[in-house]
Symmetry: C3
Subunit: 118 residues, 3 copies
Amino acid sequence: MTSIRRFGESKRWSDAVVHNGTAYWVEVAESPALDARGQIAEVLGQIDATLTMLGADRTRLLQVLVYLADLADAPVLNELWDAWVPADPPVRACVQAHLSAGYKVEMIITAAMPSSLG
Amino acid sequence: MTSIRRFGESKRWSDAVVHNGTAYWVEVAESPALDARGQIAEVLGQIDATLTMLGADRTRLLQVLVYLADLADAPVLNELWDAWVPADPPVRACVQAHLSAGYKVEMIITAAMPSSLG
Amino acid sequence: MTSIRRFGESKRWSDAVVHNGTAYWVEVAESPALDARGQIAEVLGQIDATLTMLGADRTRLLQVLVYLADLADAPVLNELWDAWVPADPPVRACVQAHLSAGYKVEMIITAAMPSSLG
């Protein structure tokens, strides 16, 4: 069996899972009381923190699927994203979806790991 | 060319696809006449059946993206999910999306295969 | 570090990313003034063009996640899809999601690369 590494396991889910050199995880803002700008900034920061935990950085991002509770926040997303995304950016999709109460943004991330993480 | 294994091929889609040690598939309830609780329970059972067909089990799940037709069903999802998910759980996302008539839940699954499945 | 290949990089995103034998990308119609039928046909053609750019073809598709702005367009999607999809089809999911103004369809694609693409 090939190995699976899990990070931040709770009863319901793992914060991140790594298999075969690829990491999968989901971010929502830790502070859902923030407005859309605050939540998007926080989620981008959380992606950085997860990448650091995995021994990687923004240049290893492969794909980011963004769900906005309101597409009217897309310009704010783009402003913060453009300042954050590295010169070699991931693929990105962005659609509107109703999210749990208070949440303005949810991102599903796929990233390439350093080979040592398997 | 690296090999791709497909399971349950119809004209429109495959029920599951395996490549490079990773399996991808989608589940909706086989019984859309059921209520949300019934459909969620059925979909979790269908995931088990697909895992068995692939020679794997729940501990090999990497990521599950859940679309609920109505986020008001999230507590039922969590109740059934918590009783079903293994001690080493996958990453999970859950957002609301309008689904085909009658469907209450759709799940997109990524899982790690035993190495023999390639 | 395992290598990542990026295609069509802009400041905001890459058009496609390849890692560990798997390609990830997103397609929306280049002509959002088209109706749903026109946009769906265009997106399927764009998938072909991206596959060709990657040295692959439709038989290498693993998963296609379809977001329709209006699920009432699902019959048109199915008509065009069934005429397009190869005999060994990918996994497919389709849900409704509000998309950026004018867009009727967005597809998120995962495909297996020829081994030479790494």
